[in-house]
């Protein structure tokens, strides 16, 4: 890992988040997201890591009563994606997401990947064909499905479904990709393939991943953030946080004293 390239792709500035029931789930989070790096969010359940991740594509807007306070600024255009004037749809077009459980649409493999393009008004079959192939190759799934693109996505295995969801998120050339515990529903072999895929995707885009699995954070990420009860306790290079954590709470979590 080199010290030189520290281009900030996005950063959260004093971000607070309140759920509709009044719960103060994020407390003044300041954190950068470096370009072409994988940043992992770790912490015990309920610490706000998924809440934080879901701020980046304004998923909280889908449910009434949720409130953001603070900024998430994207570079190089300096857009505060949480601002009232910014359409969440625009944000989701730039930042895509892979969910905890594979959630393909009950459509064909092809249509799953093509959906993001169709939403953007894509009609040209040749262009869509190319994009679908590219995305499926990018998600290391092309060879397994190229002969049955019109099969239902549900007929794929769990790991294949998750790679299909990655392809779906990839097809629209996002700048940032969010992963919300992407392997928690998968077996170890499928998990390994997803992790490998993430490290490859890093060359093309910036990744933010929530994981409950510390080994996974250590394996795949360049930077790690430890969150606890809505606070960002510590953020630094993954090697540093696992070898010499600065905060006592981080150390306790990493060594298994709190879980």
């Amino acid at each position: 890992m080199d010290q030189v390239s520290h281009v900030t792709k996005a950063e959260s500035r004093n971000l607070n988040f309140y759920y509709s029931n009044g719960a103060h789930a994020l407390k003044g989070i300041n954190m950068p997201l470096y370009e072409n790096k994988i940043t992992a969010l770790i912490g015990p359940s309920g610490c706000g890591k998924s809440t934080f991740l879901r701020c980046f594509n304004r998923m909280h807007d889908l449910y009434p009563g949720n409130r953001y306070d603070g900024q998430i600024v994207m570079h190089p255009d300096n857009t505060n994606i949480l601002a009232d004037g910014v359409d969440p749809i625009e944000v989701r077009m730039r930042i895509s997401m892979v969910f905890q459980k594979p959630n393909p649409f009950p459509k064909s493999i092809y249509e799953n990947v093509a959906y993001g393009l169709r939403v953007r008004g894509g009609k040209n079959k040749k262009v869509i064909d190319d994009k679908v192939e590219q995305a499926l190759r990018g998600a290391a799934l092309w060879d397994e499905v190229k002969d049955r693109l019109n099969d239902l996505a549900f007929n794929l295995s769990g790991g294949q479904q998750q790679r299909l969801c990655i392809a779906r998120a990839l097809a629209t050339d996002p700048e940032i990709m969010l992963f919300d515990e992407p392997t928690s529903a998968l077996d170890p072999i499928a998990t390994a393939s997803i992790e490998e895929l993430m490290t490859e995707l890093r060359n093309k885009l910036t990744i933010l991943v929530v994981t409950h699995n510390m080994q996974q954070a250590a394996r795949v990420s360049d930077y790690t953030a430890y969150m606890y009860l809505g606070d960002l306790v510590e953020f630094s290079k993954t090697d540093d946080i696992f070898i010499k954590p600065k905060d006592k709470r981080t150390e306790d979590y990493i060594t298994g004293r709190i879980g």
Binding site: R92, M93, M97, N103, P106, G116, R118, R120, R168, A169
Partner: protein, 321 residues
């Protein structure tokens, strides 16, 4: 020492065997309740089915002499042997068409709006309670409403349009409720997946919500339609004729403009009213006609429900969450 050990092992074994015996007795007692409940349930099911079957076969046996093509192609007549249900089934068909065309778009749109667009607050709760309650309002009340609103208020007369709108109102709550249930069955994760790639609300509704809920919606629609088919009270209230020896003008013709809407304002009768009319006659020969009509209504209803089940199965087959 050794002996003692053996004895204590033996005692332990005996008590273990005793325990095991008790556990087995207990399981046997519990399972007896299983069997009792299953038998009661089966009995209830068989009773309900037997009643329906008796009713149906009674109608079939009584109406058997009338099961011939002429019964479907003849108008009602003063002579029972010549009387048929042509005007009744055509009337039912046309009324159902109006009902379908009004209740389905309105019901689905209302259900969609309530589920996907309406803000969740006390007002939407109030609407929800009212819609559910509407499904339980006696049908004659709808008839009275229609008499005041459609027949006199809007001056639509005692026409096919009035009857279709009345039955449409009657089944609207059924369509709304089943639409909402079908939409609610779609997991949040699928919705989030669609939003996450940048879809607008309408794109999510059009490409996903409607697609995956259509099985449930169609089932509700068909169940509502089969209820409407058998409704008599509201149709009598709005003043459907009971003896009709003519057909409404055909909706489609071979000459321009090919489609006309005169049939909407035509007088009409429907199957249950025709049956009611024949039942009230003293001449026994008409009872045969009534029975045959009843059998046909039940048969059509069963067929419609069969189609509903088949549709649901066919559409659900490709969807697993």
């Amino acid at each position: 020492m050794e002996n003692q050990n053996l004895t204590s092992t033996a005692t332990a074994n005996t008590s273990l065997m005793q325990n095991l015996q008790e556990v087995r007795d207990m399981i046997r007692r519990h399972k007896r309740k299983d069997i009792i409940f299953a038998s009661v349930g089966l009995l209830a099911l068989v009773l309900a089915l037997l009643t329906l079957l008796t009713l149906f076969s009674d109608l079939v046996i009584d109406g058997y002499p009338k099961f011939n093509p002429d019964f479907l192609t003849e108008f009602p007549s003063r002579r029972a042997a010549h009387a048929g249900i042509l005007s009744a089934w055509v009337g039912s068909l046309l009324v159902m068409l109006v009902t379908f065309l009004t209740a389905v778009p309105m019901g689905v749109a209302a259900g969609l709006y309530l589920e996907e667009y309406a803000p969740k607050n006390w007002l939407s709760d109030l609407i929800e309670i009212n819609v559910s309650n509407l499904a339980g309002v006696p049908s004659i009340v709808y008839g009275l409403l229609a008499l005041g609103l459609f027949v006199y208020g809007l001056d639509l007369g005692q026409s096919i349009l009035t009857a279709g709108l009345t039955l449409g109102l009657l089944i609207l709550p059924i369509v709304i409720v089943s639409t909402r249930e079908a939409i609610r069955a779609i997991p949040a994760s699928i919705r989030e997946a669609a939003y996450a790639v940048g879809a607008t609300k309408w794109q999510v509704v059009k490409d996903h919500v409607l697609k995956y809920s259509q099985g449930g919606i169609m089932t509700g629609v068909i169940i509502g339609m089969s209820r409407a088919l058998g409704e008599t009270a509201p149709i009598i209230t709005i003043g459907a004729l009971t003896f009709i020896a003519f057909l409404p003008p055909a909706p489609i013709s071979t000459t321009a403009p090919f489609i006309n809407f005169e049939w909407l304002s035509s007088g009409f009768t429907v199957l249950p009213i025709q049956m009611f009319n024949w039942l009230s006659r003293p001449d026994h020969a008409f009872q045969v006609n009534a029975a045959a009509t009843g059998a046909i209504i039940i048969l059509v209803t069963l067929l419609m429900n069969g189609v509903a089940i088949w549709l649901r199965y066919k559409i659900r087959k490709n969807i697993k969450w």
